[in-house]
């Protein structure tokens, strides 16, 4: 019977390091290994989904509302579609927290006046939270069939009721929020907009016809 000593296994060097994996190596648990790999895969996925999703949602907005350029959305219902559908797509593929963070940081560092900022923040939440399942529709639909979801979102935004002016699920804040144009975060204007929009979570907001 051959007896193999530890010096053979370690290329004739006796292990004296403090790590049980050997010198220069770190022993990690299977759980940490799995989590690290998943986190890496998630970051790769996010790096693909964020720019592609944004590009696709802007393209859908232009197509559905007949715009020449995405900058034409202004604060119209097309803008509500753009924001809510983008945040919906992000939640669909990256989860709610990532969607909310990606959309939130865009507003936080954007420098918009309070009325614009809170309109966008509100419409983000419509897509990734309050109306998510309306945009999602049947669970039998593959999450890669984005045109189906774009159509659901478009029908929701543009829905009108005969005999009633405006949009069925939209709230026009042009007059109410006309004076809230401070660009300072945390200002009274922003606080008022934030408080005001809490009561209309099921509806989208627009401030230009």
């Amino acid at each position: 019977m051959n007896v193999v000593g530890i010096s053979h296994l370690t290329h004739n060097q006796v292990v004296t390091g403090s790590s049980p994996a050997g010198p220069g190596k770190v022993l990690i648990s299977p759980w940490l290994m799995r989590t690290s790999l998943r986190a890496g895969a998630y970051l790769v996925k996010a790096a693909i989904v964020l720019p592609l999703g944004r590009y696709y949602c802007n393209w859908e907005t232009k197509q559905k509302f007949g715009l020449n350029s995405i900058s034409e959305v202004g604060s119209k219902p097309a803008n509500a579609f753009q924001h809510s559908f983008t945040s919906f797509v992000y939640r669909l593929h990256l989860g709610w927290a990532s969607s909310q963070f990606a959309m939130w940081q865009h507003e936080y560092f954007g420098g918009n006046p309070c009325n614009q900022r809170h309109m966008d923040l509100h419409n983000n939440k419509v897509g990734n939270m309050t109306r998510y399942w309306r945009y999602r529709g049947s669970l039998l639909t593959s999450k890669y069939f984005l045109p189906v979801f774009a159509n659901n979102a478009f029908l929701f935004i543009t829905h009108t009721t005969i005999g009633t002016p405006g949009y069925t699920f939209g709230v026009d804040k042009e007059f109410d929020w006309s004076a809230y144009i401070s660009t300072q975060r945390g200002s009274q204007d922003c606080k008022t907009c934030k408080k005001d929009r809490k009561g209309i979570s099921q509806f989208f907001i627009y401030i230009e016809q």
Partner: protein, 123 residues
């Protein structure tokens, strides 16, 4: 780059008040009444008029703009047994101050005029 401009008038209420504001535009046959109930002292702004149409960029409203669009504006509060009316003309642009002008994404410039109001403004 701005492409057009709009303007609006608003009041800033500096203490808890129950304010009624009546606004009659020149193209309207009747007053539009707004009731604003303020329960804090944070300086809440409330709108009273928004220009119905947009005009060319950098078109800062003047007194003649106000006169052309508004017939009259009044404001009052009900205090125990009396009705107290605002002691300043709300169609006089010199009673307002202009907030910093902002330009929205679509290029619309917003000129927003504010007048401060508290309990002592009513007589």
């Amino acid at each position: 780059m701005p492409t057009r401009s709009k303007w609006n008038l608003a009041i800033k209420i500096d203490e808890p008040l129950d304010v009624y504001v009546g606004v009659k535009a020149t193209d309207s046959s009747d007053f539009t009444i707004y009731n604003y109930v303020i329960d804090n002292s944070n300086g809440s702004k409330r709108p009273i008029y928004l220009s119905p149409i947009a005009s060319f960029p950098n078109d800062t409203p003047t007194q003649s703009t106000i006169d052309a669009n508004l017939d009259s504006i009044y404001a009052f509060i009900v205090s125990s047994q009396d009705t107290l009316y605002l002691d300043k003309s709300m169609t006089d642009l010199s009673n307002y101050y202009l907030q910093p002008v902002v330009t929205l994404d679509l290029g619309t410039q917003i000129f927003s005029f504010i007048t401060d109001i508290d309990y002592n403004s009513f007589k």
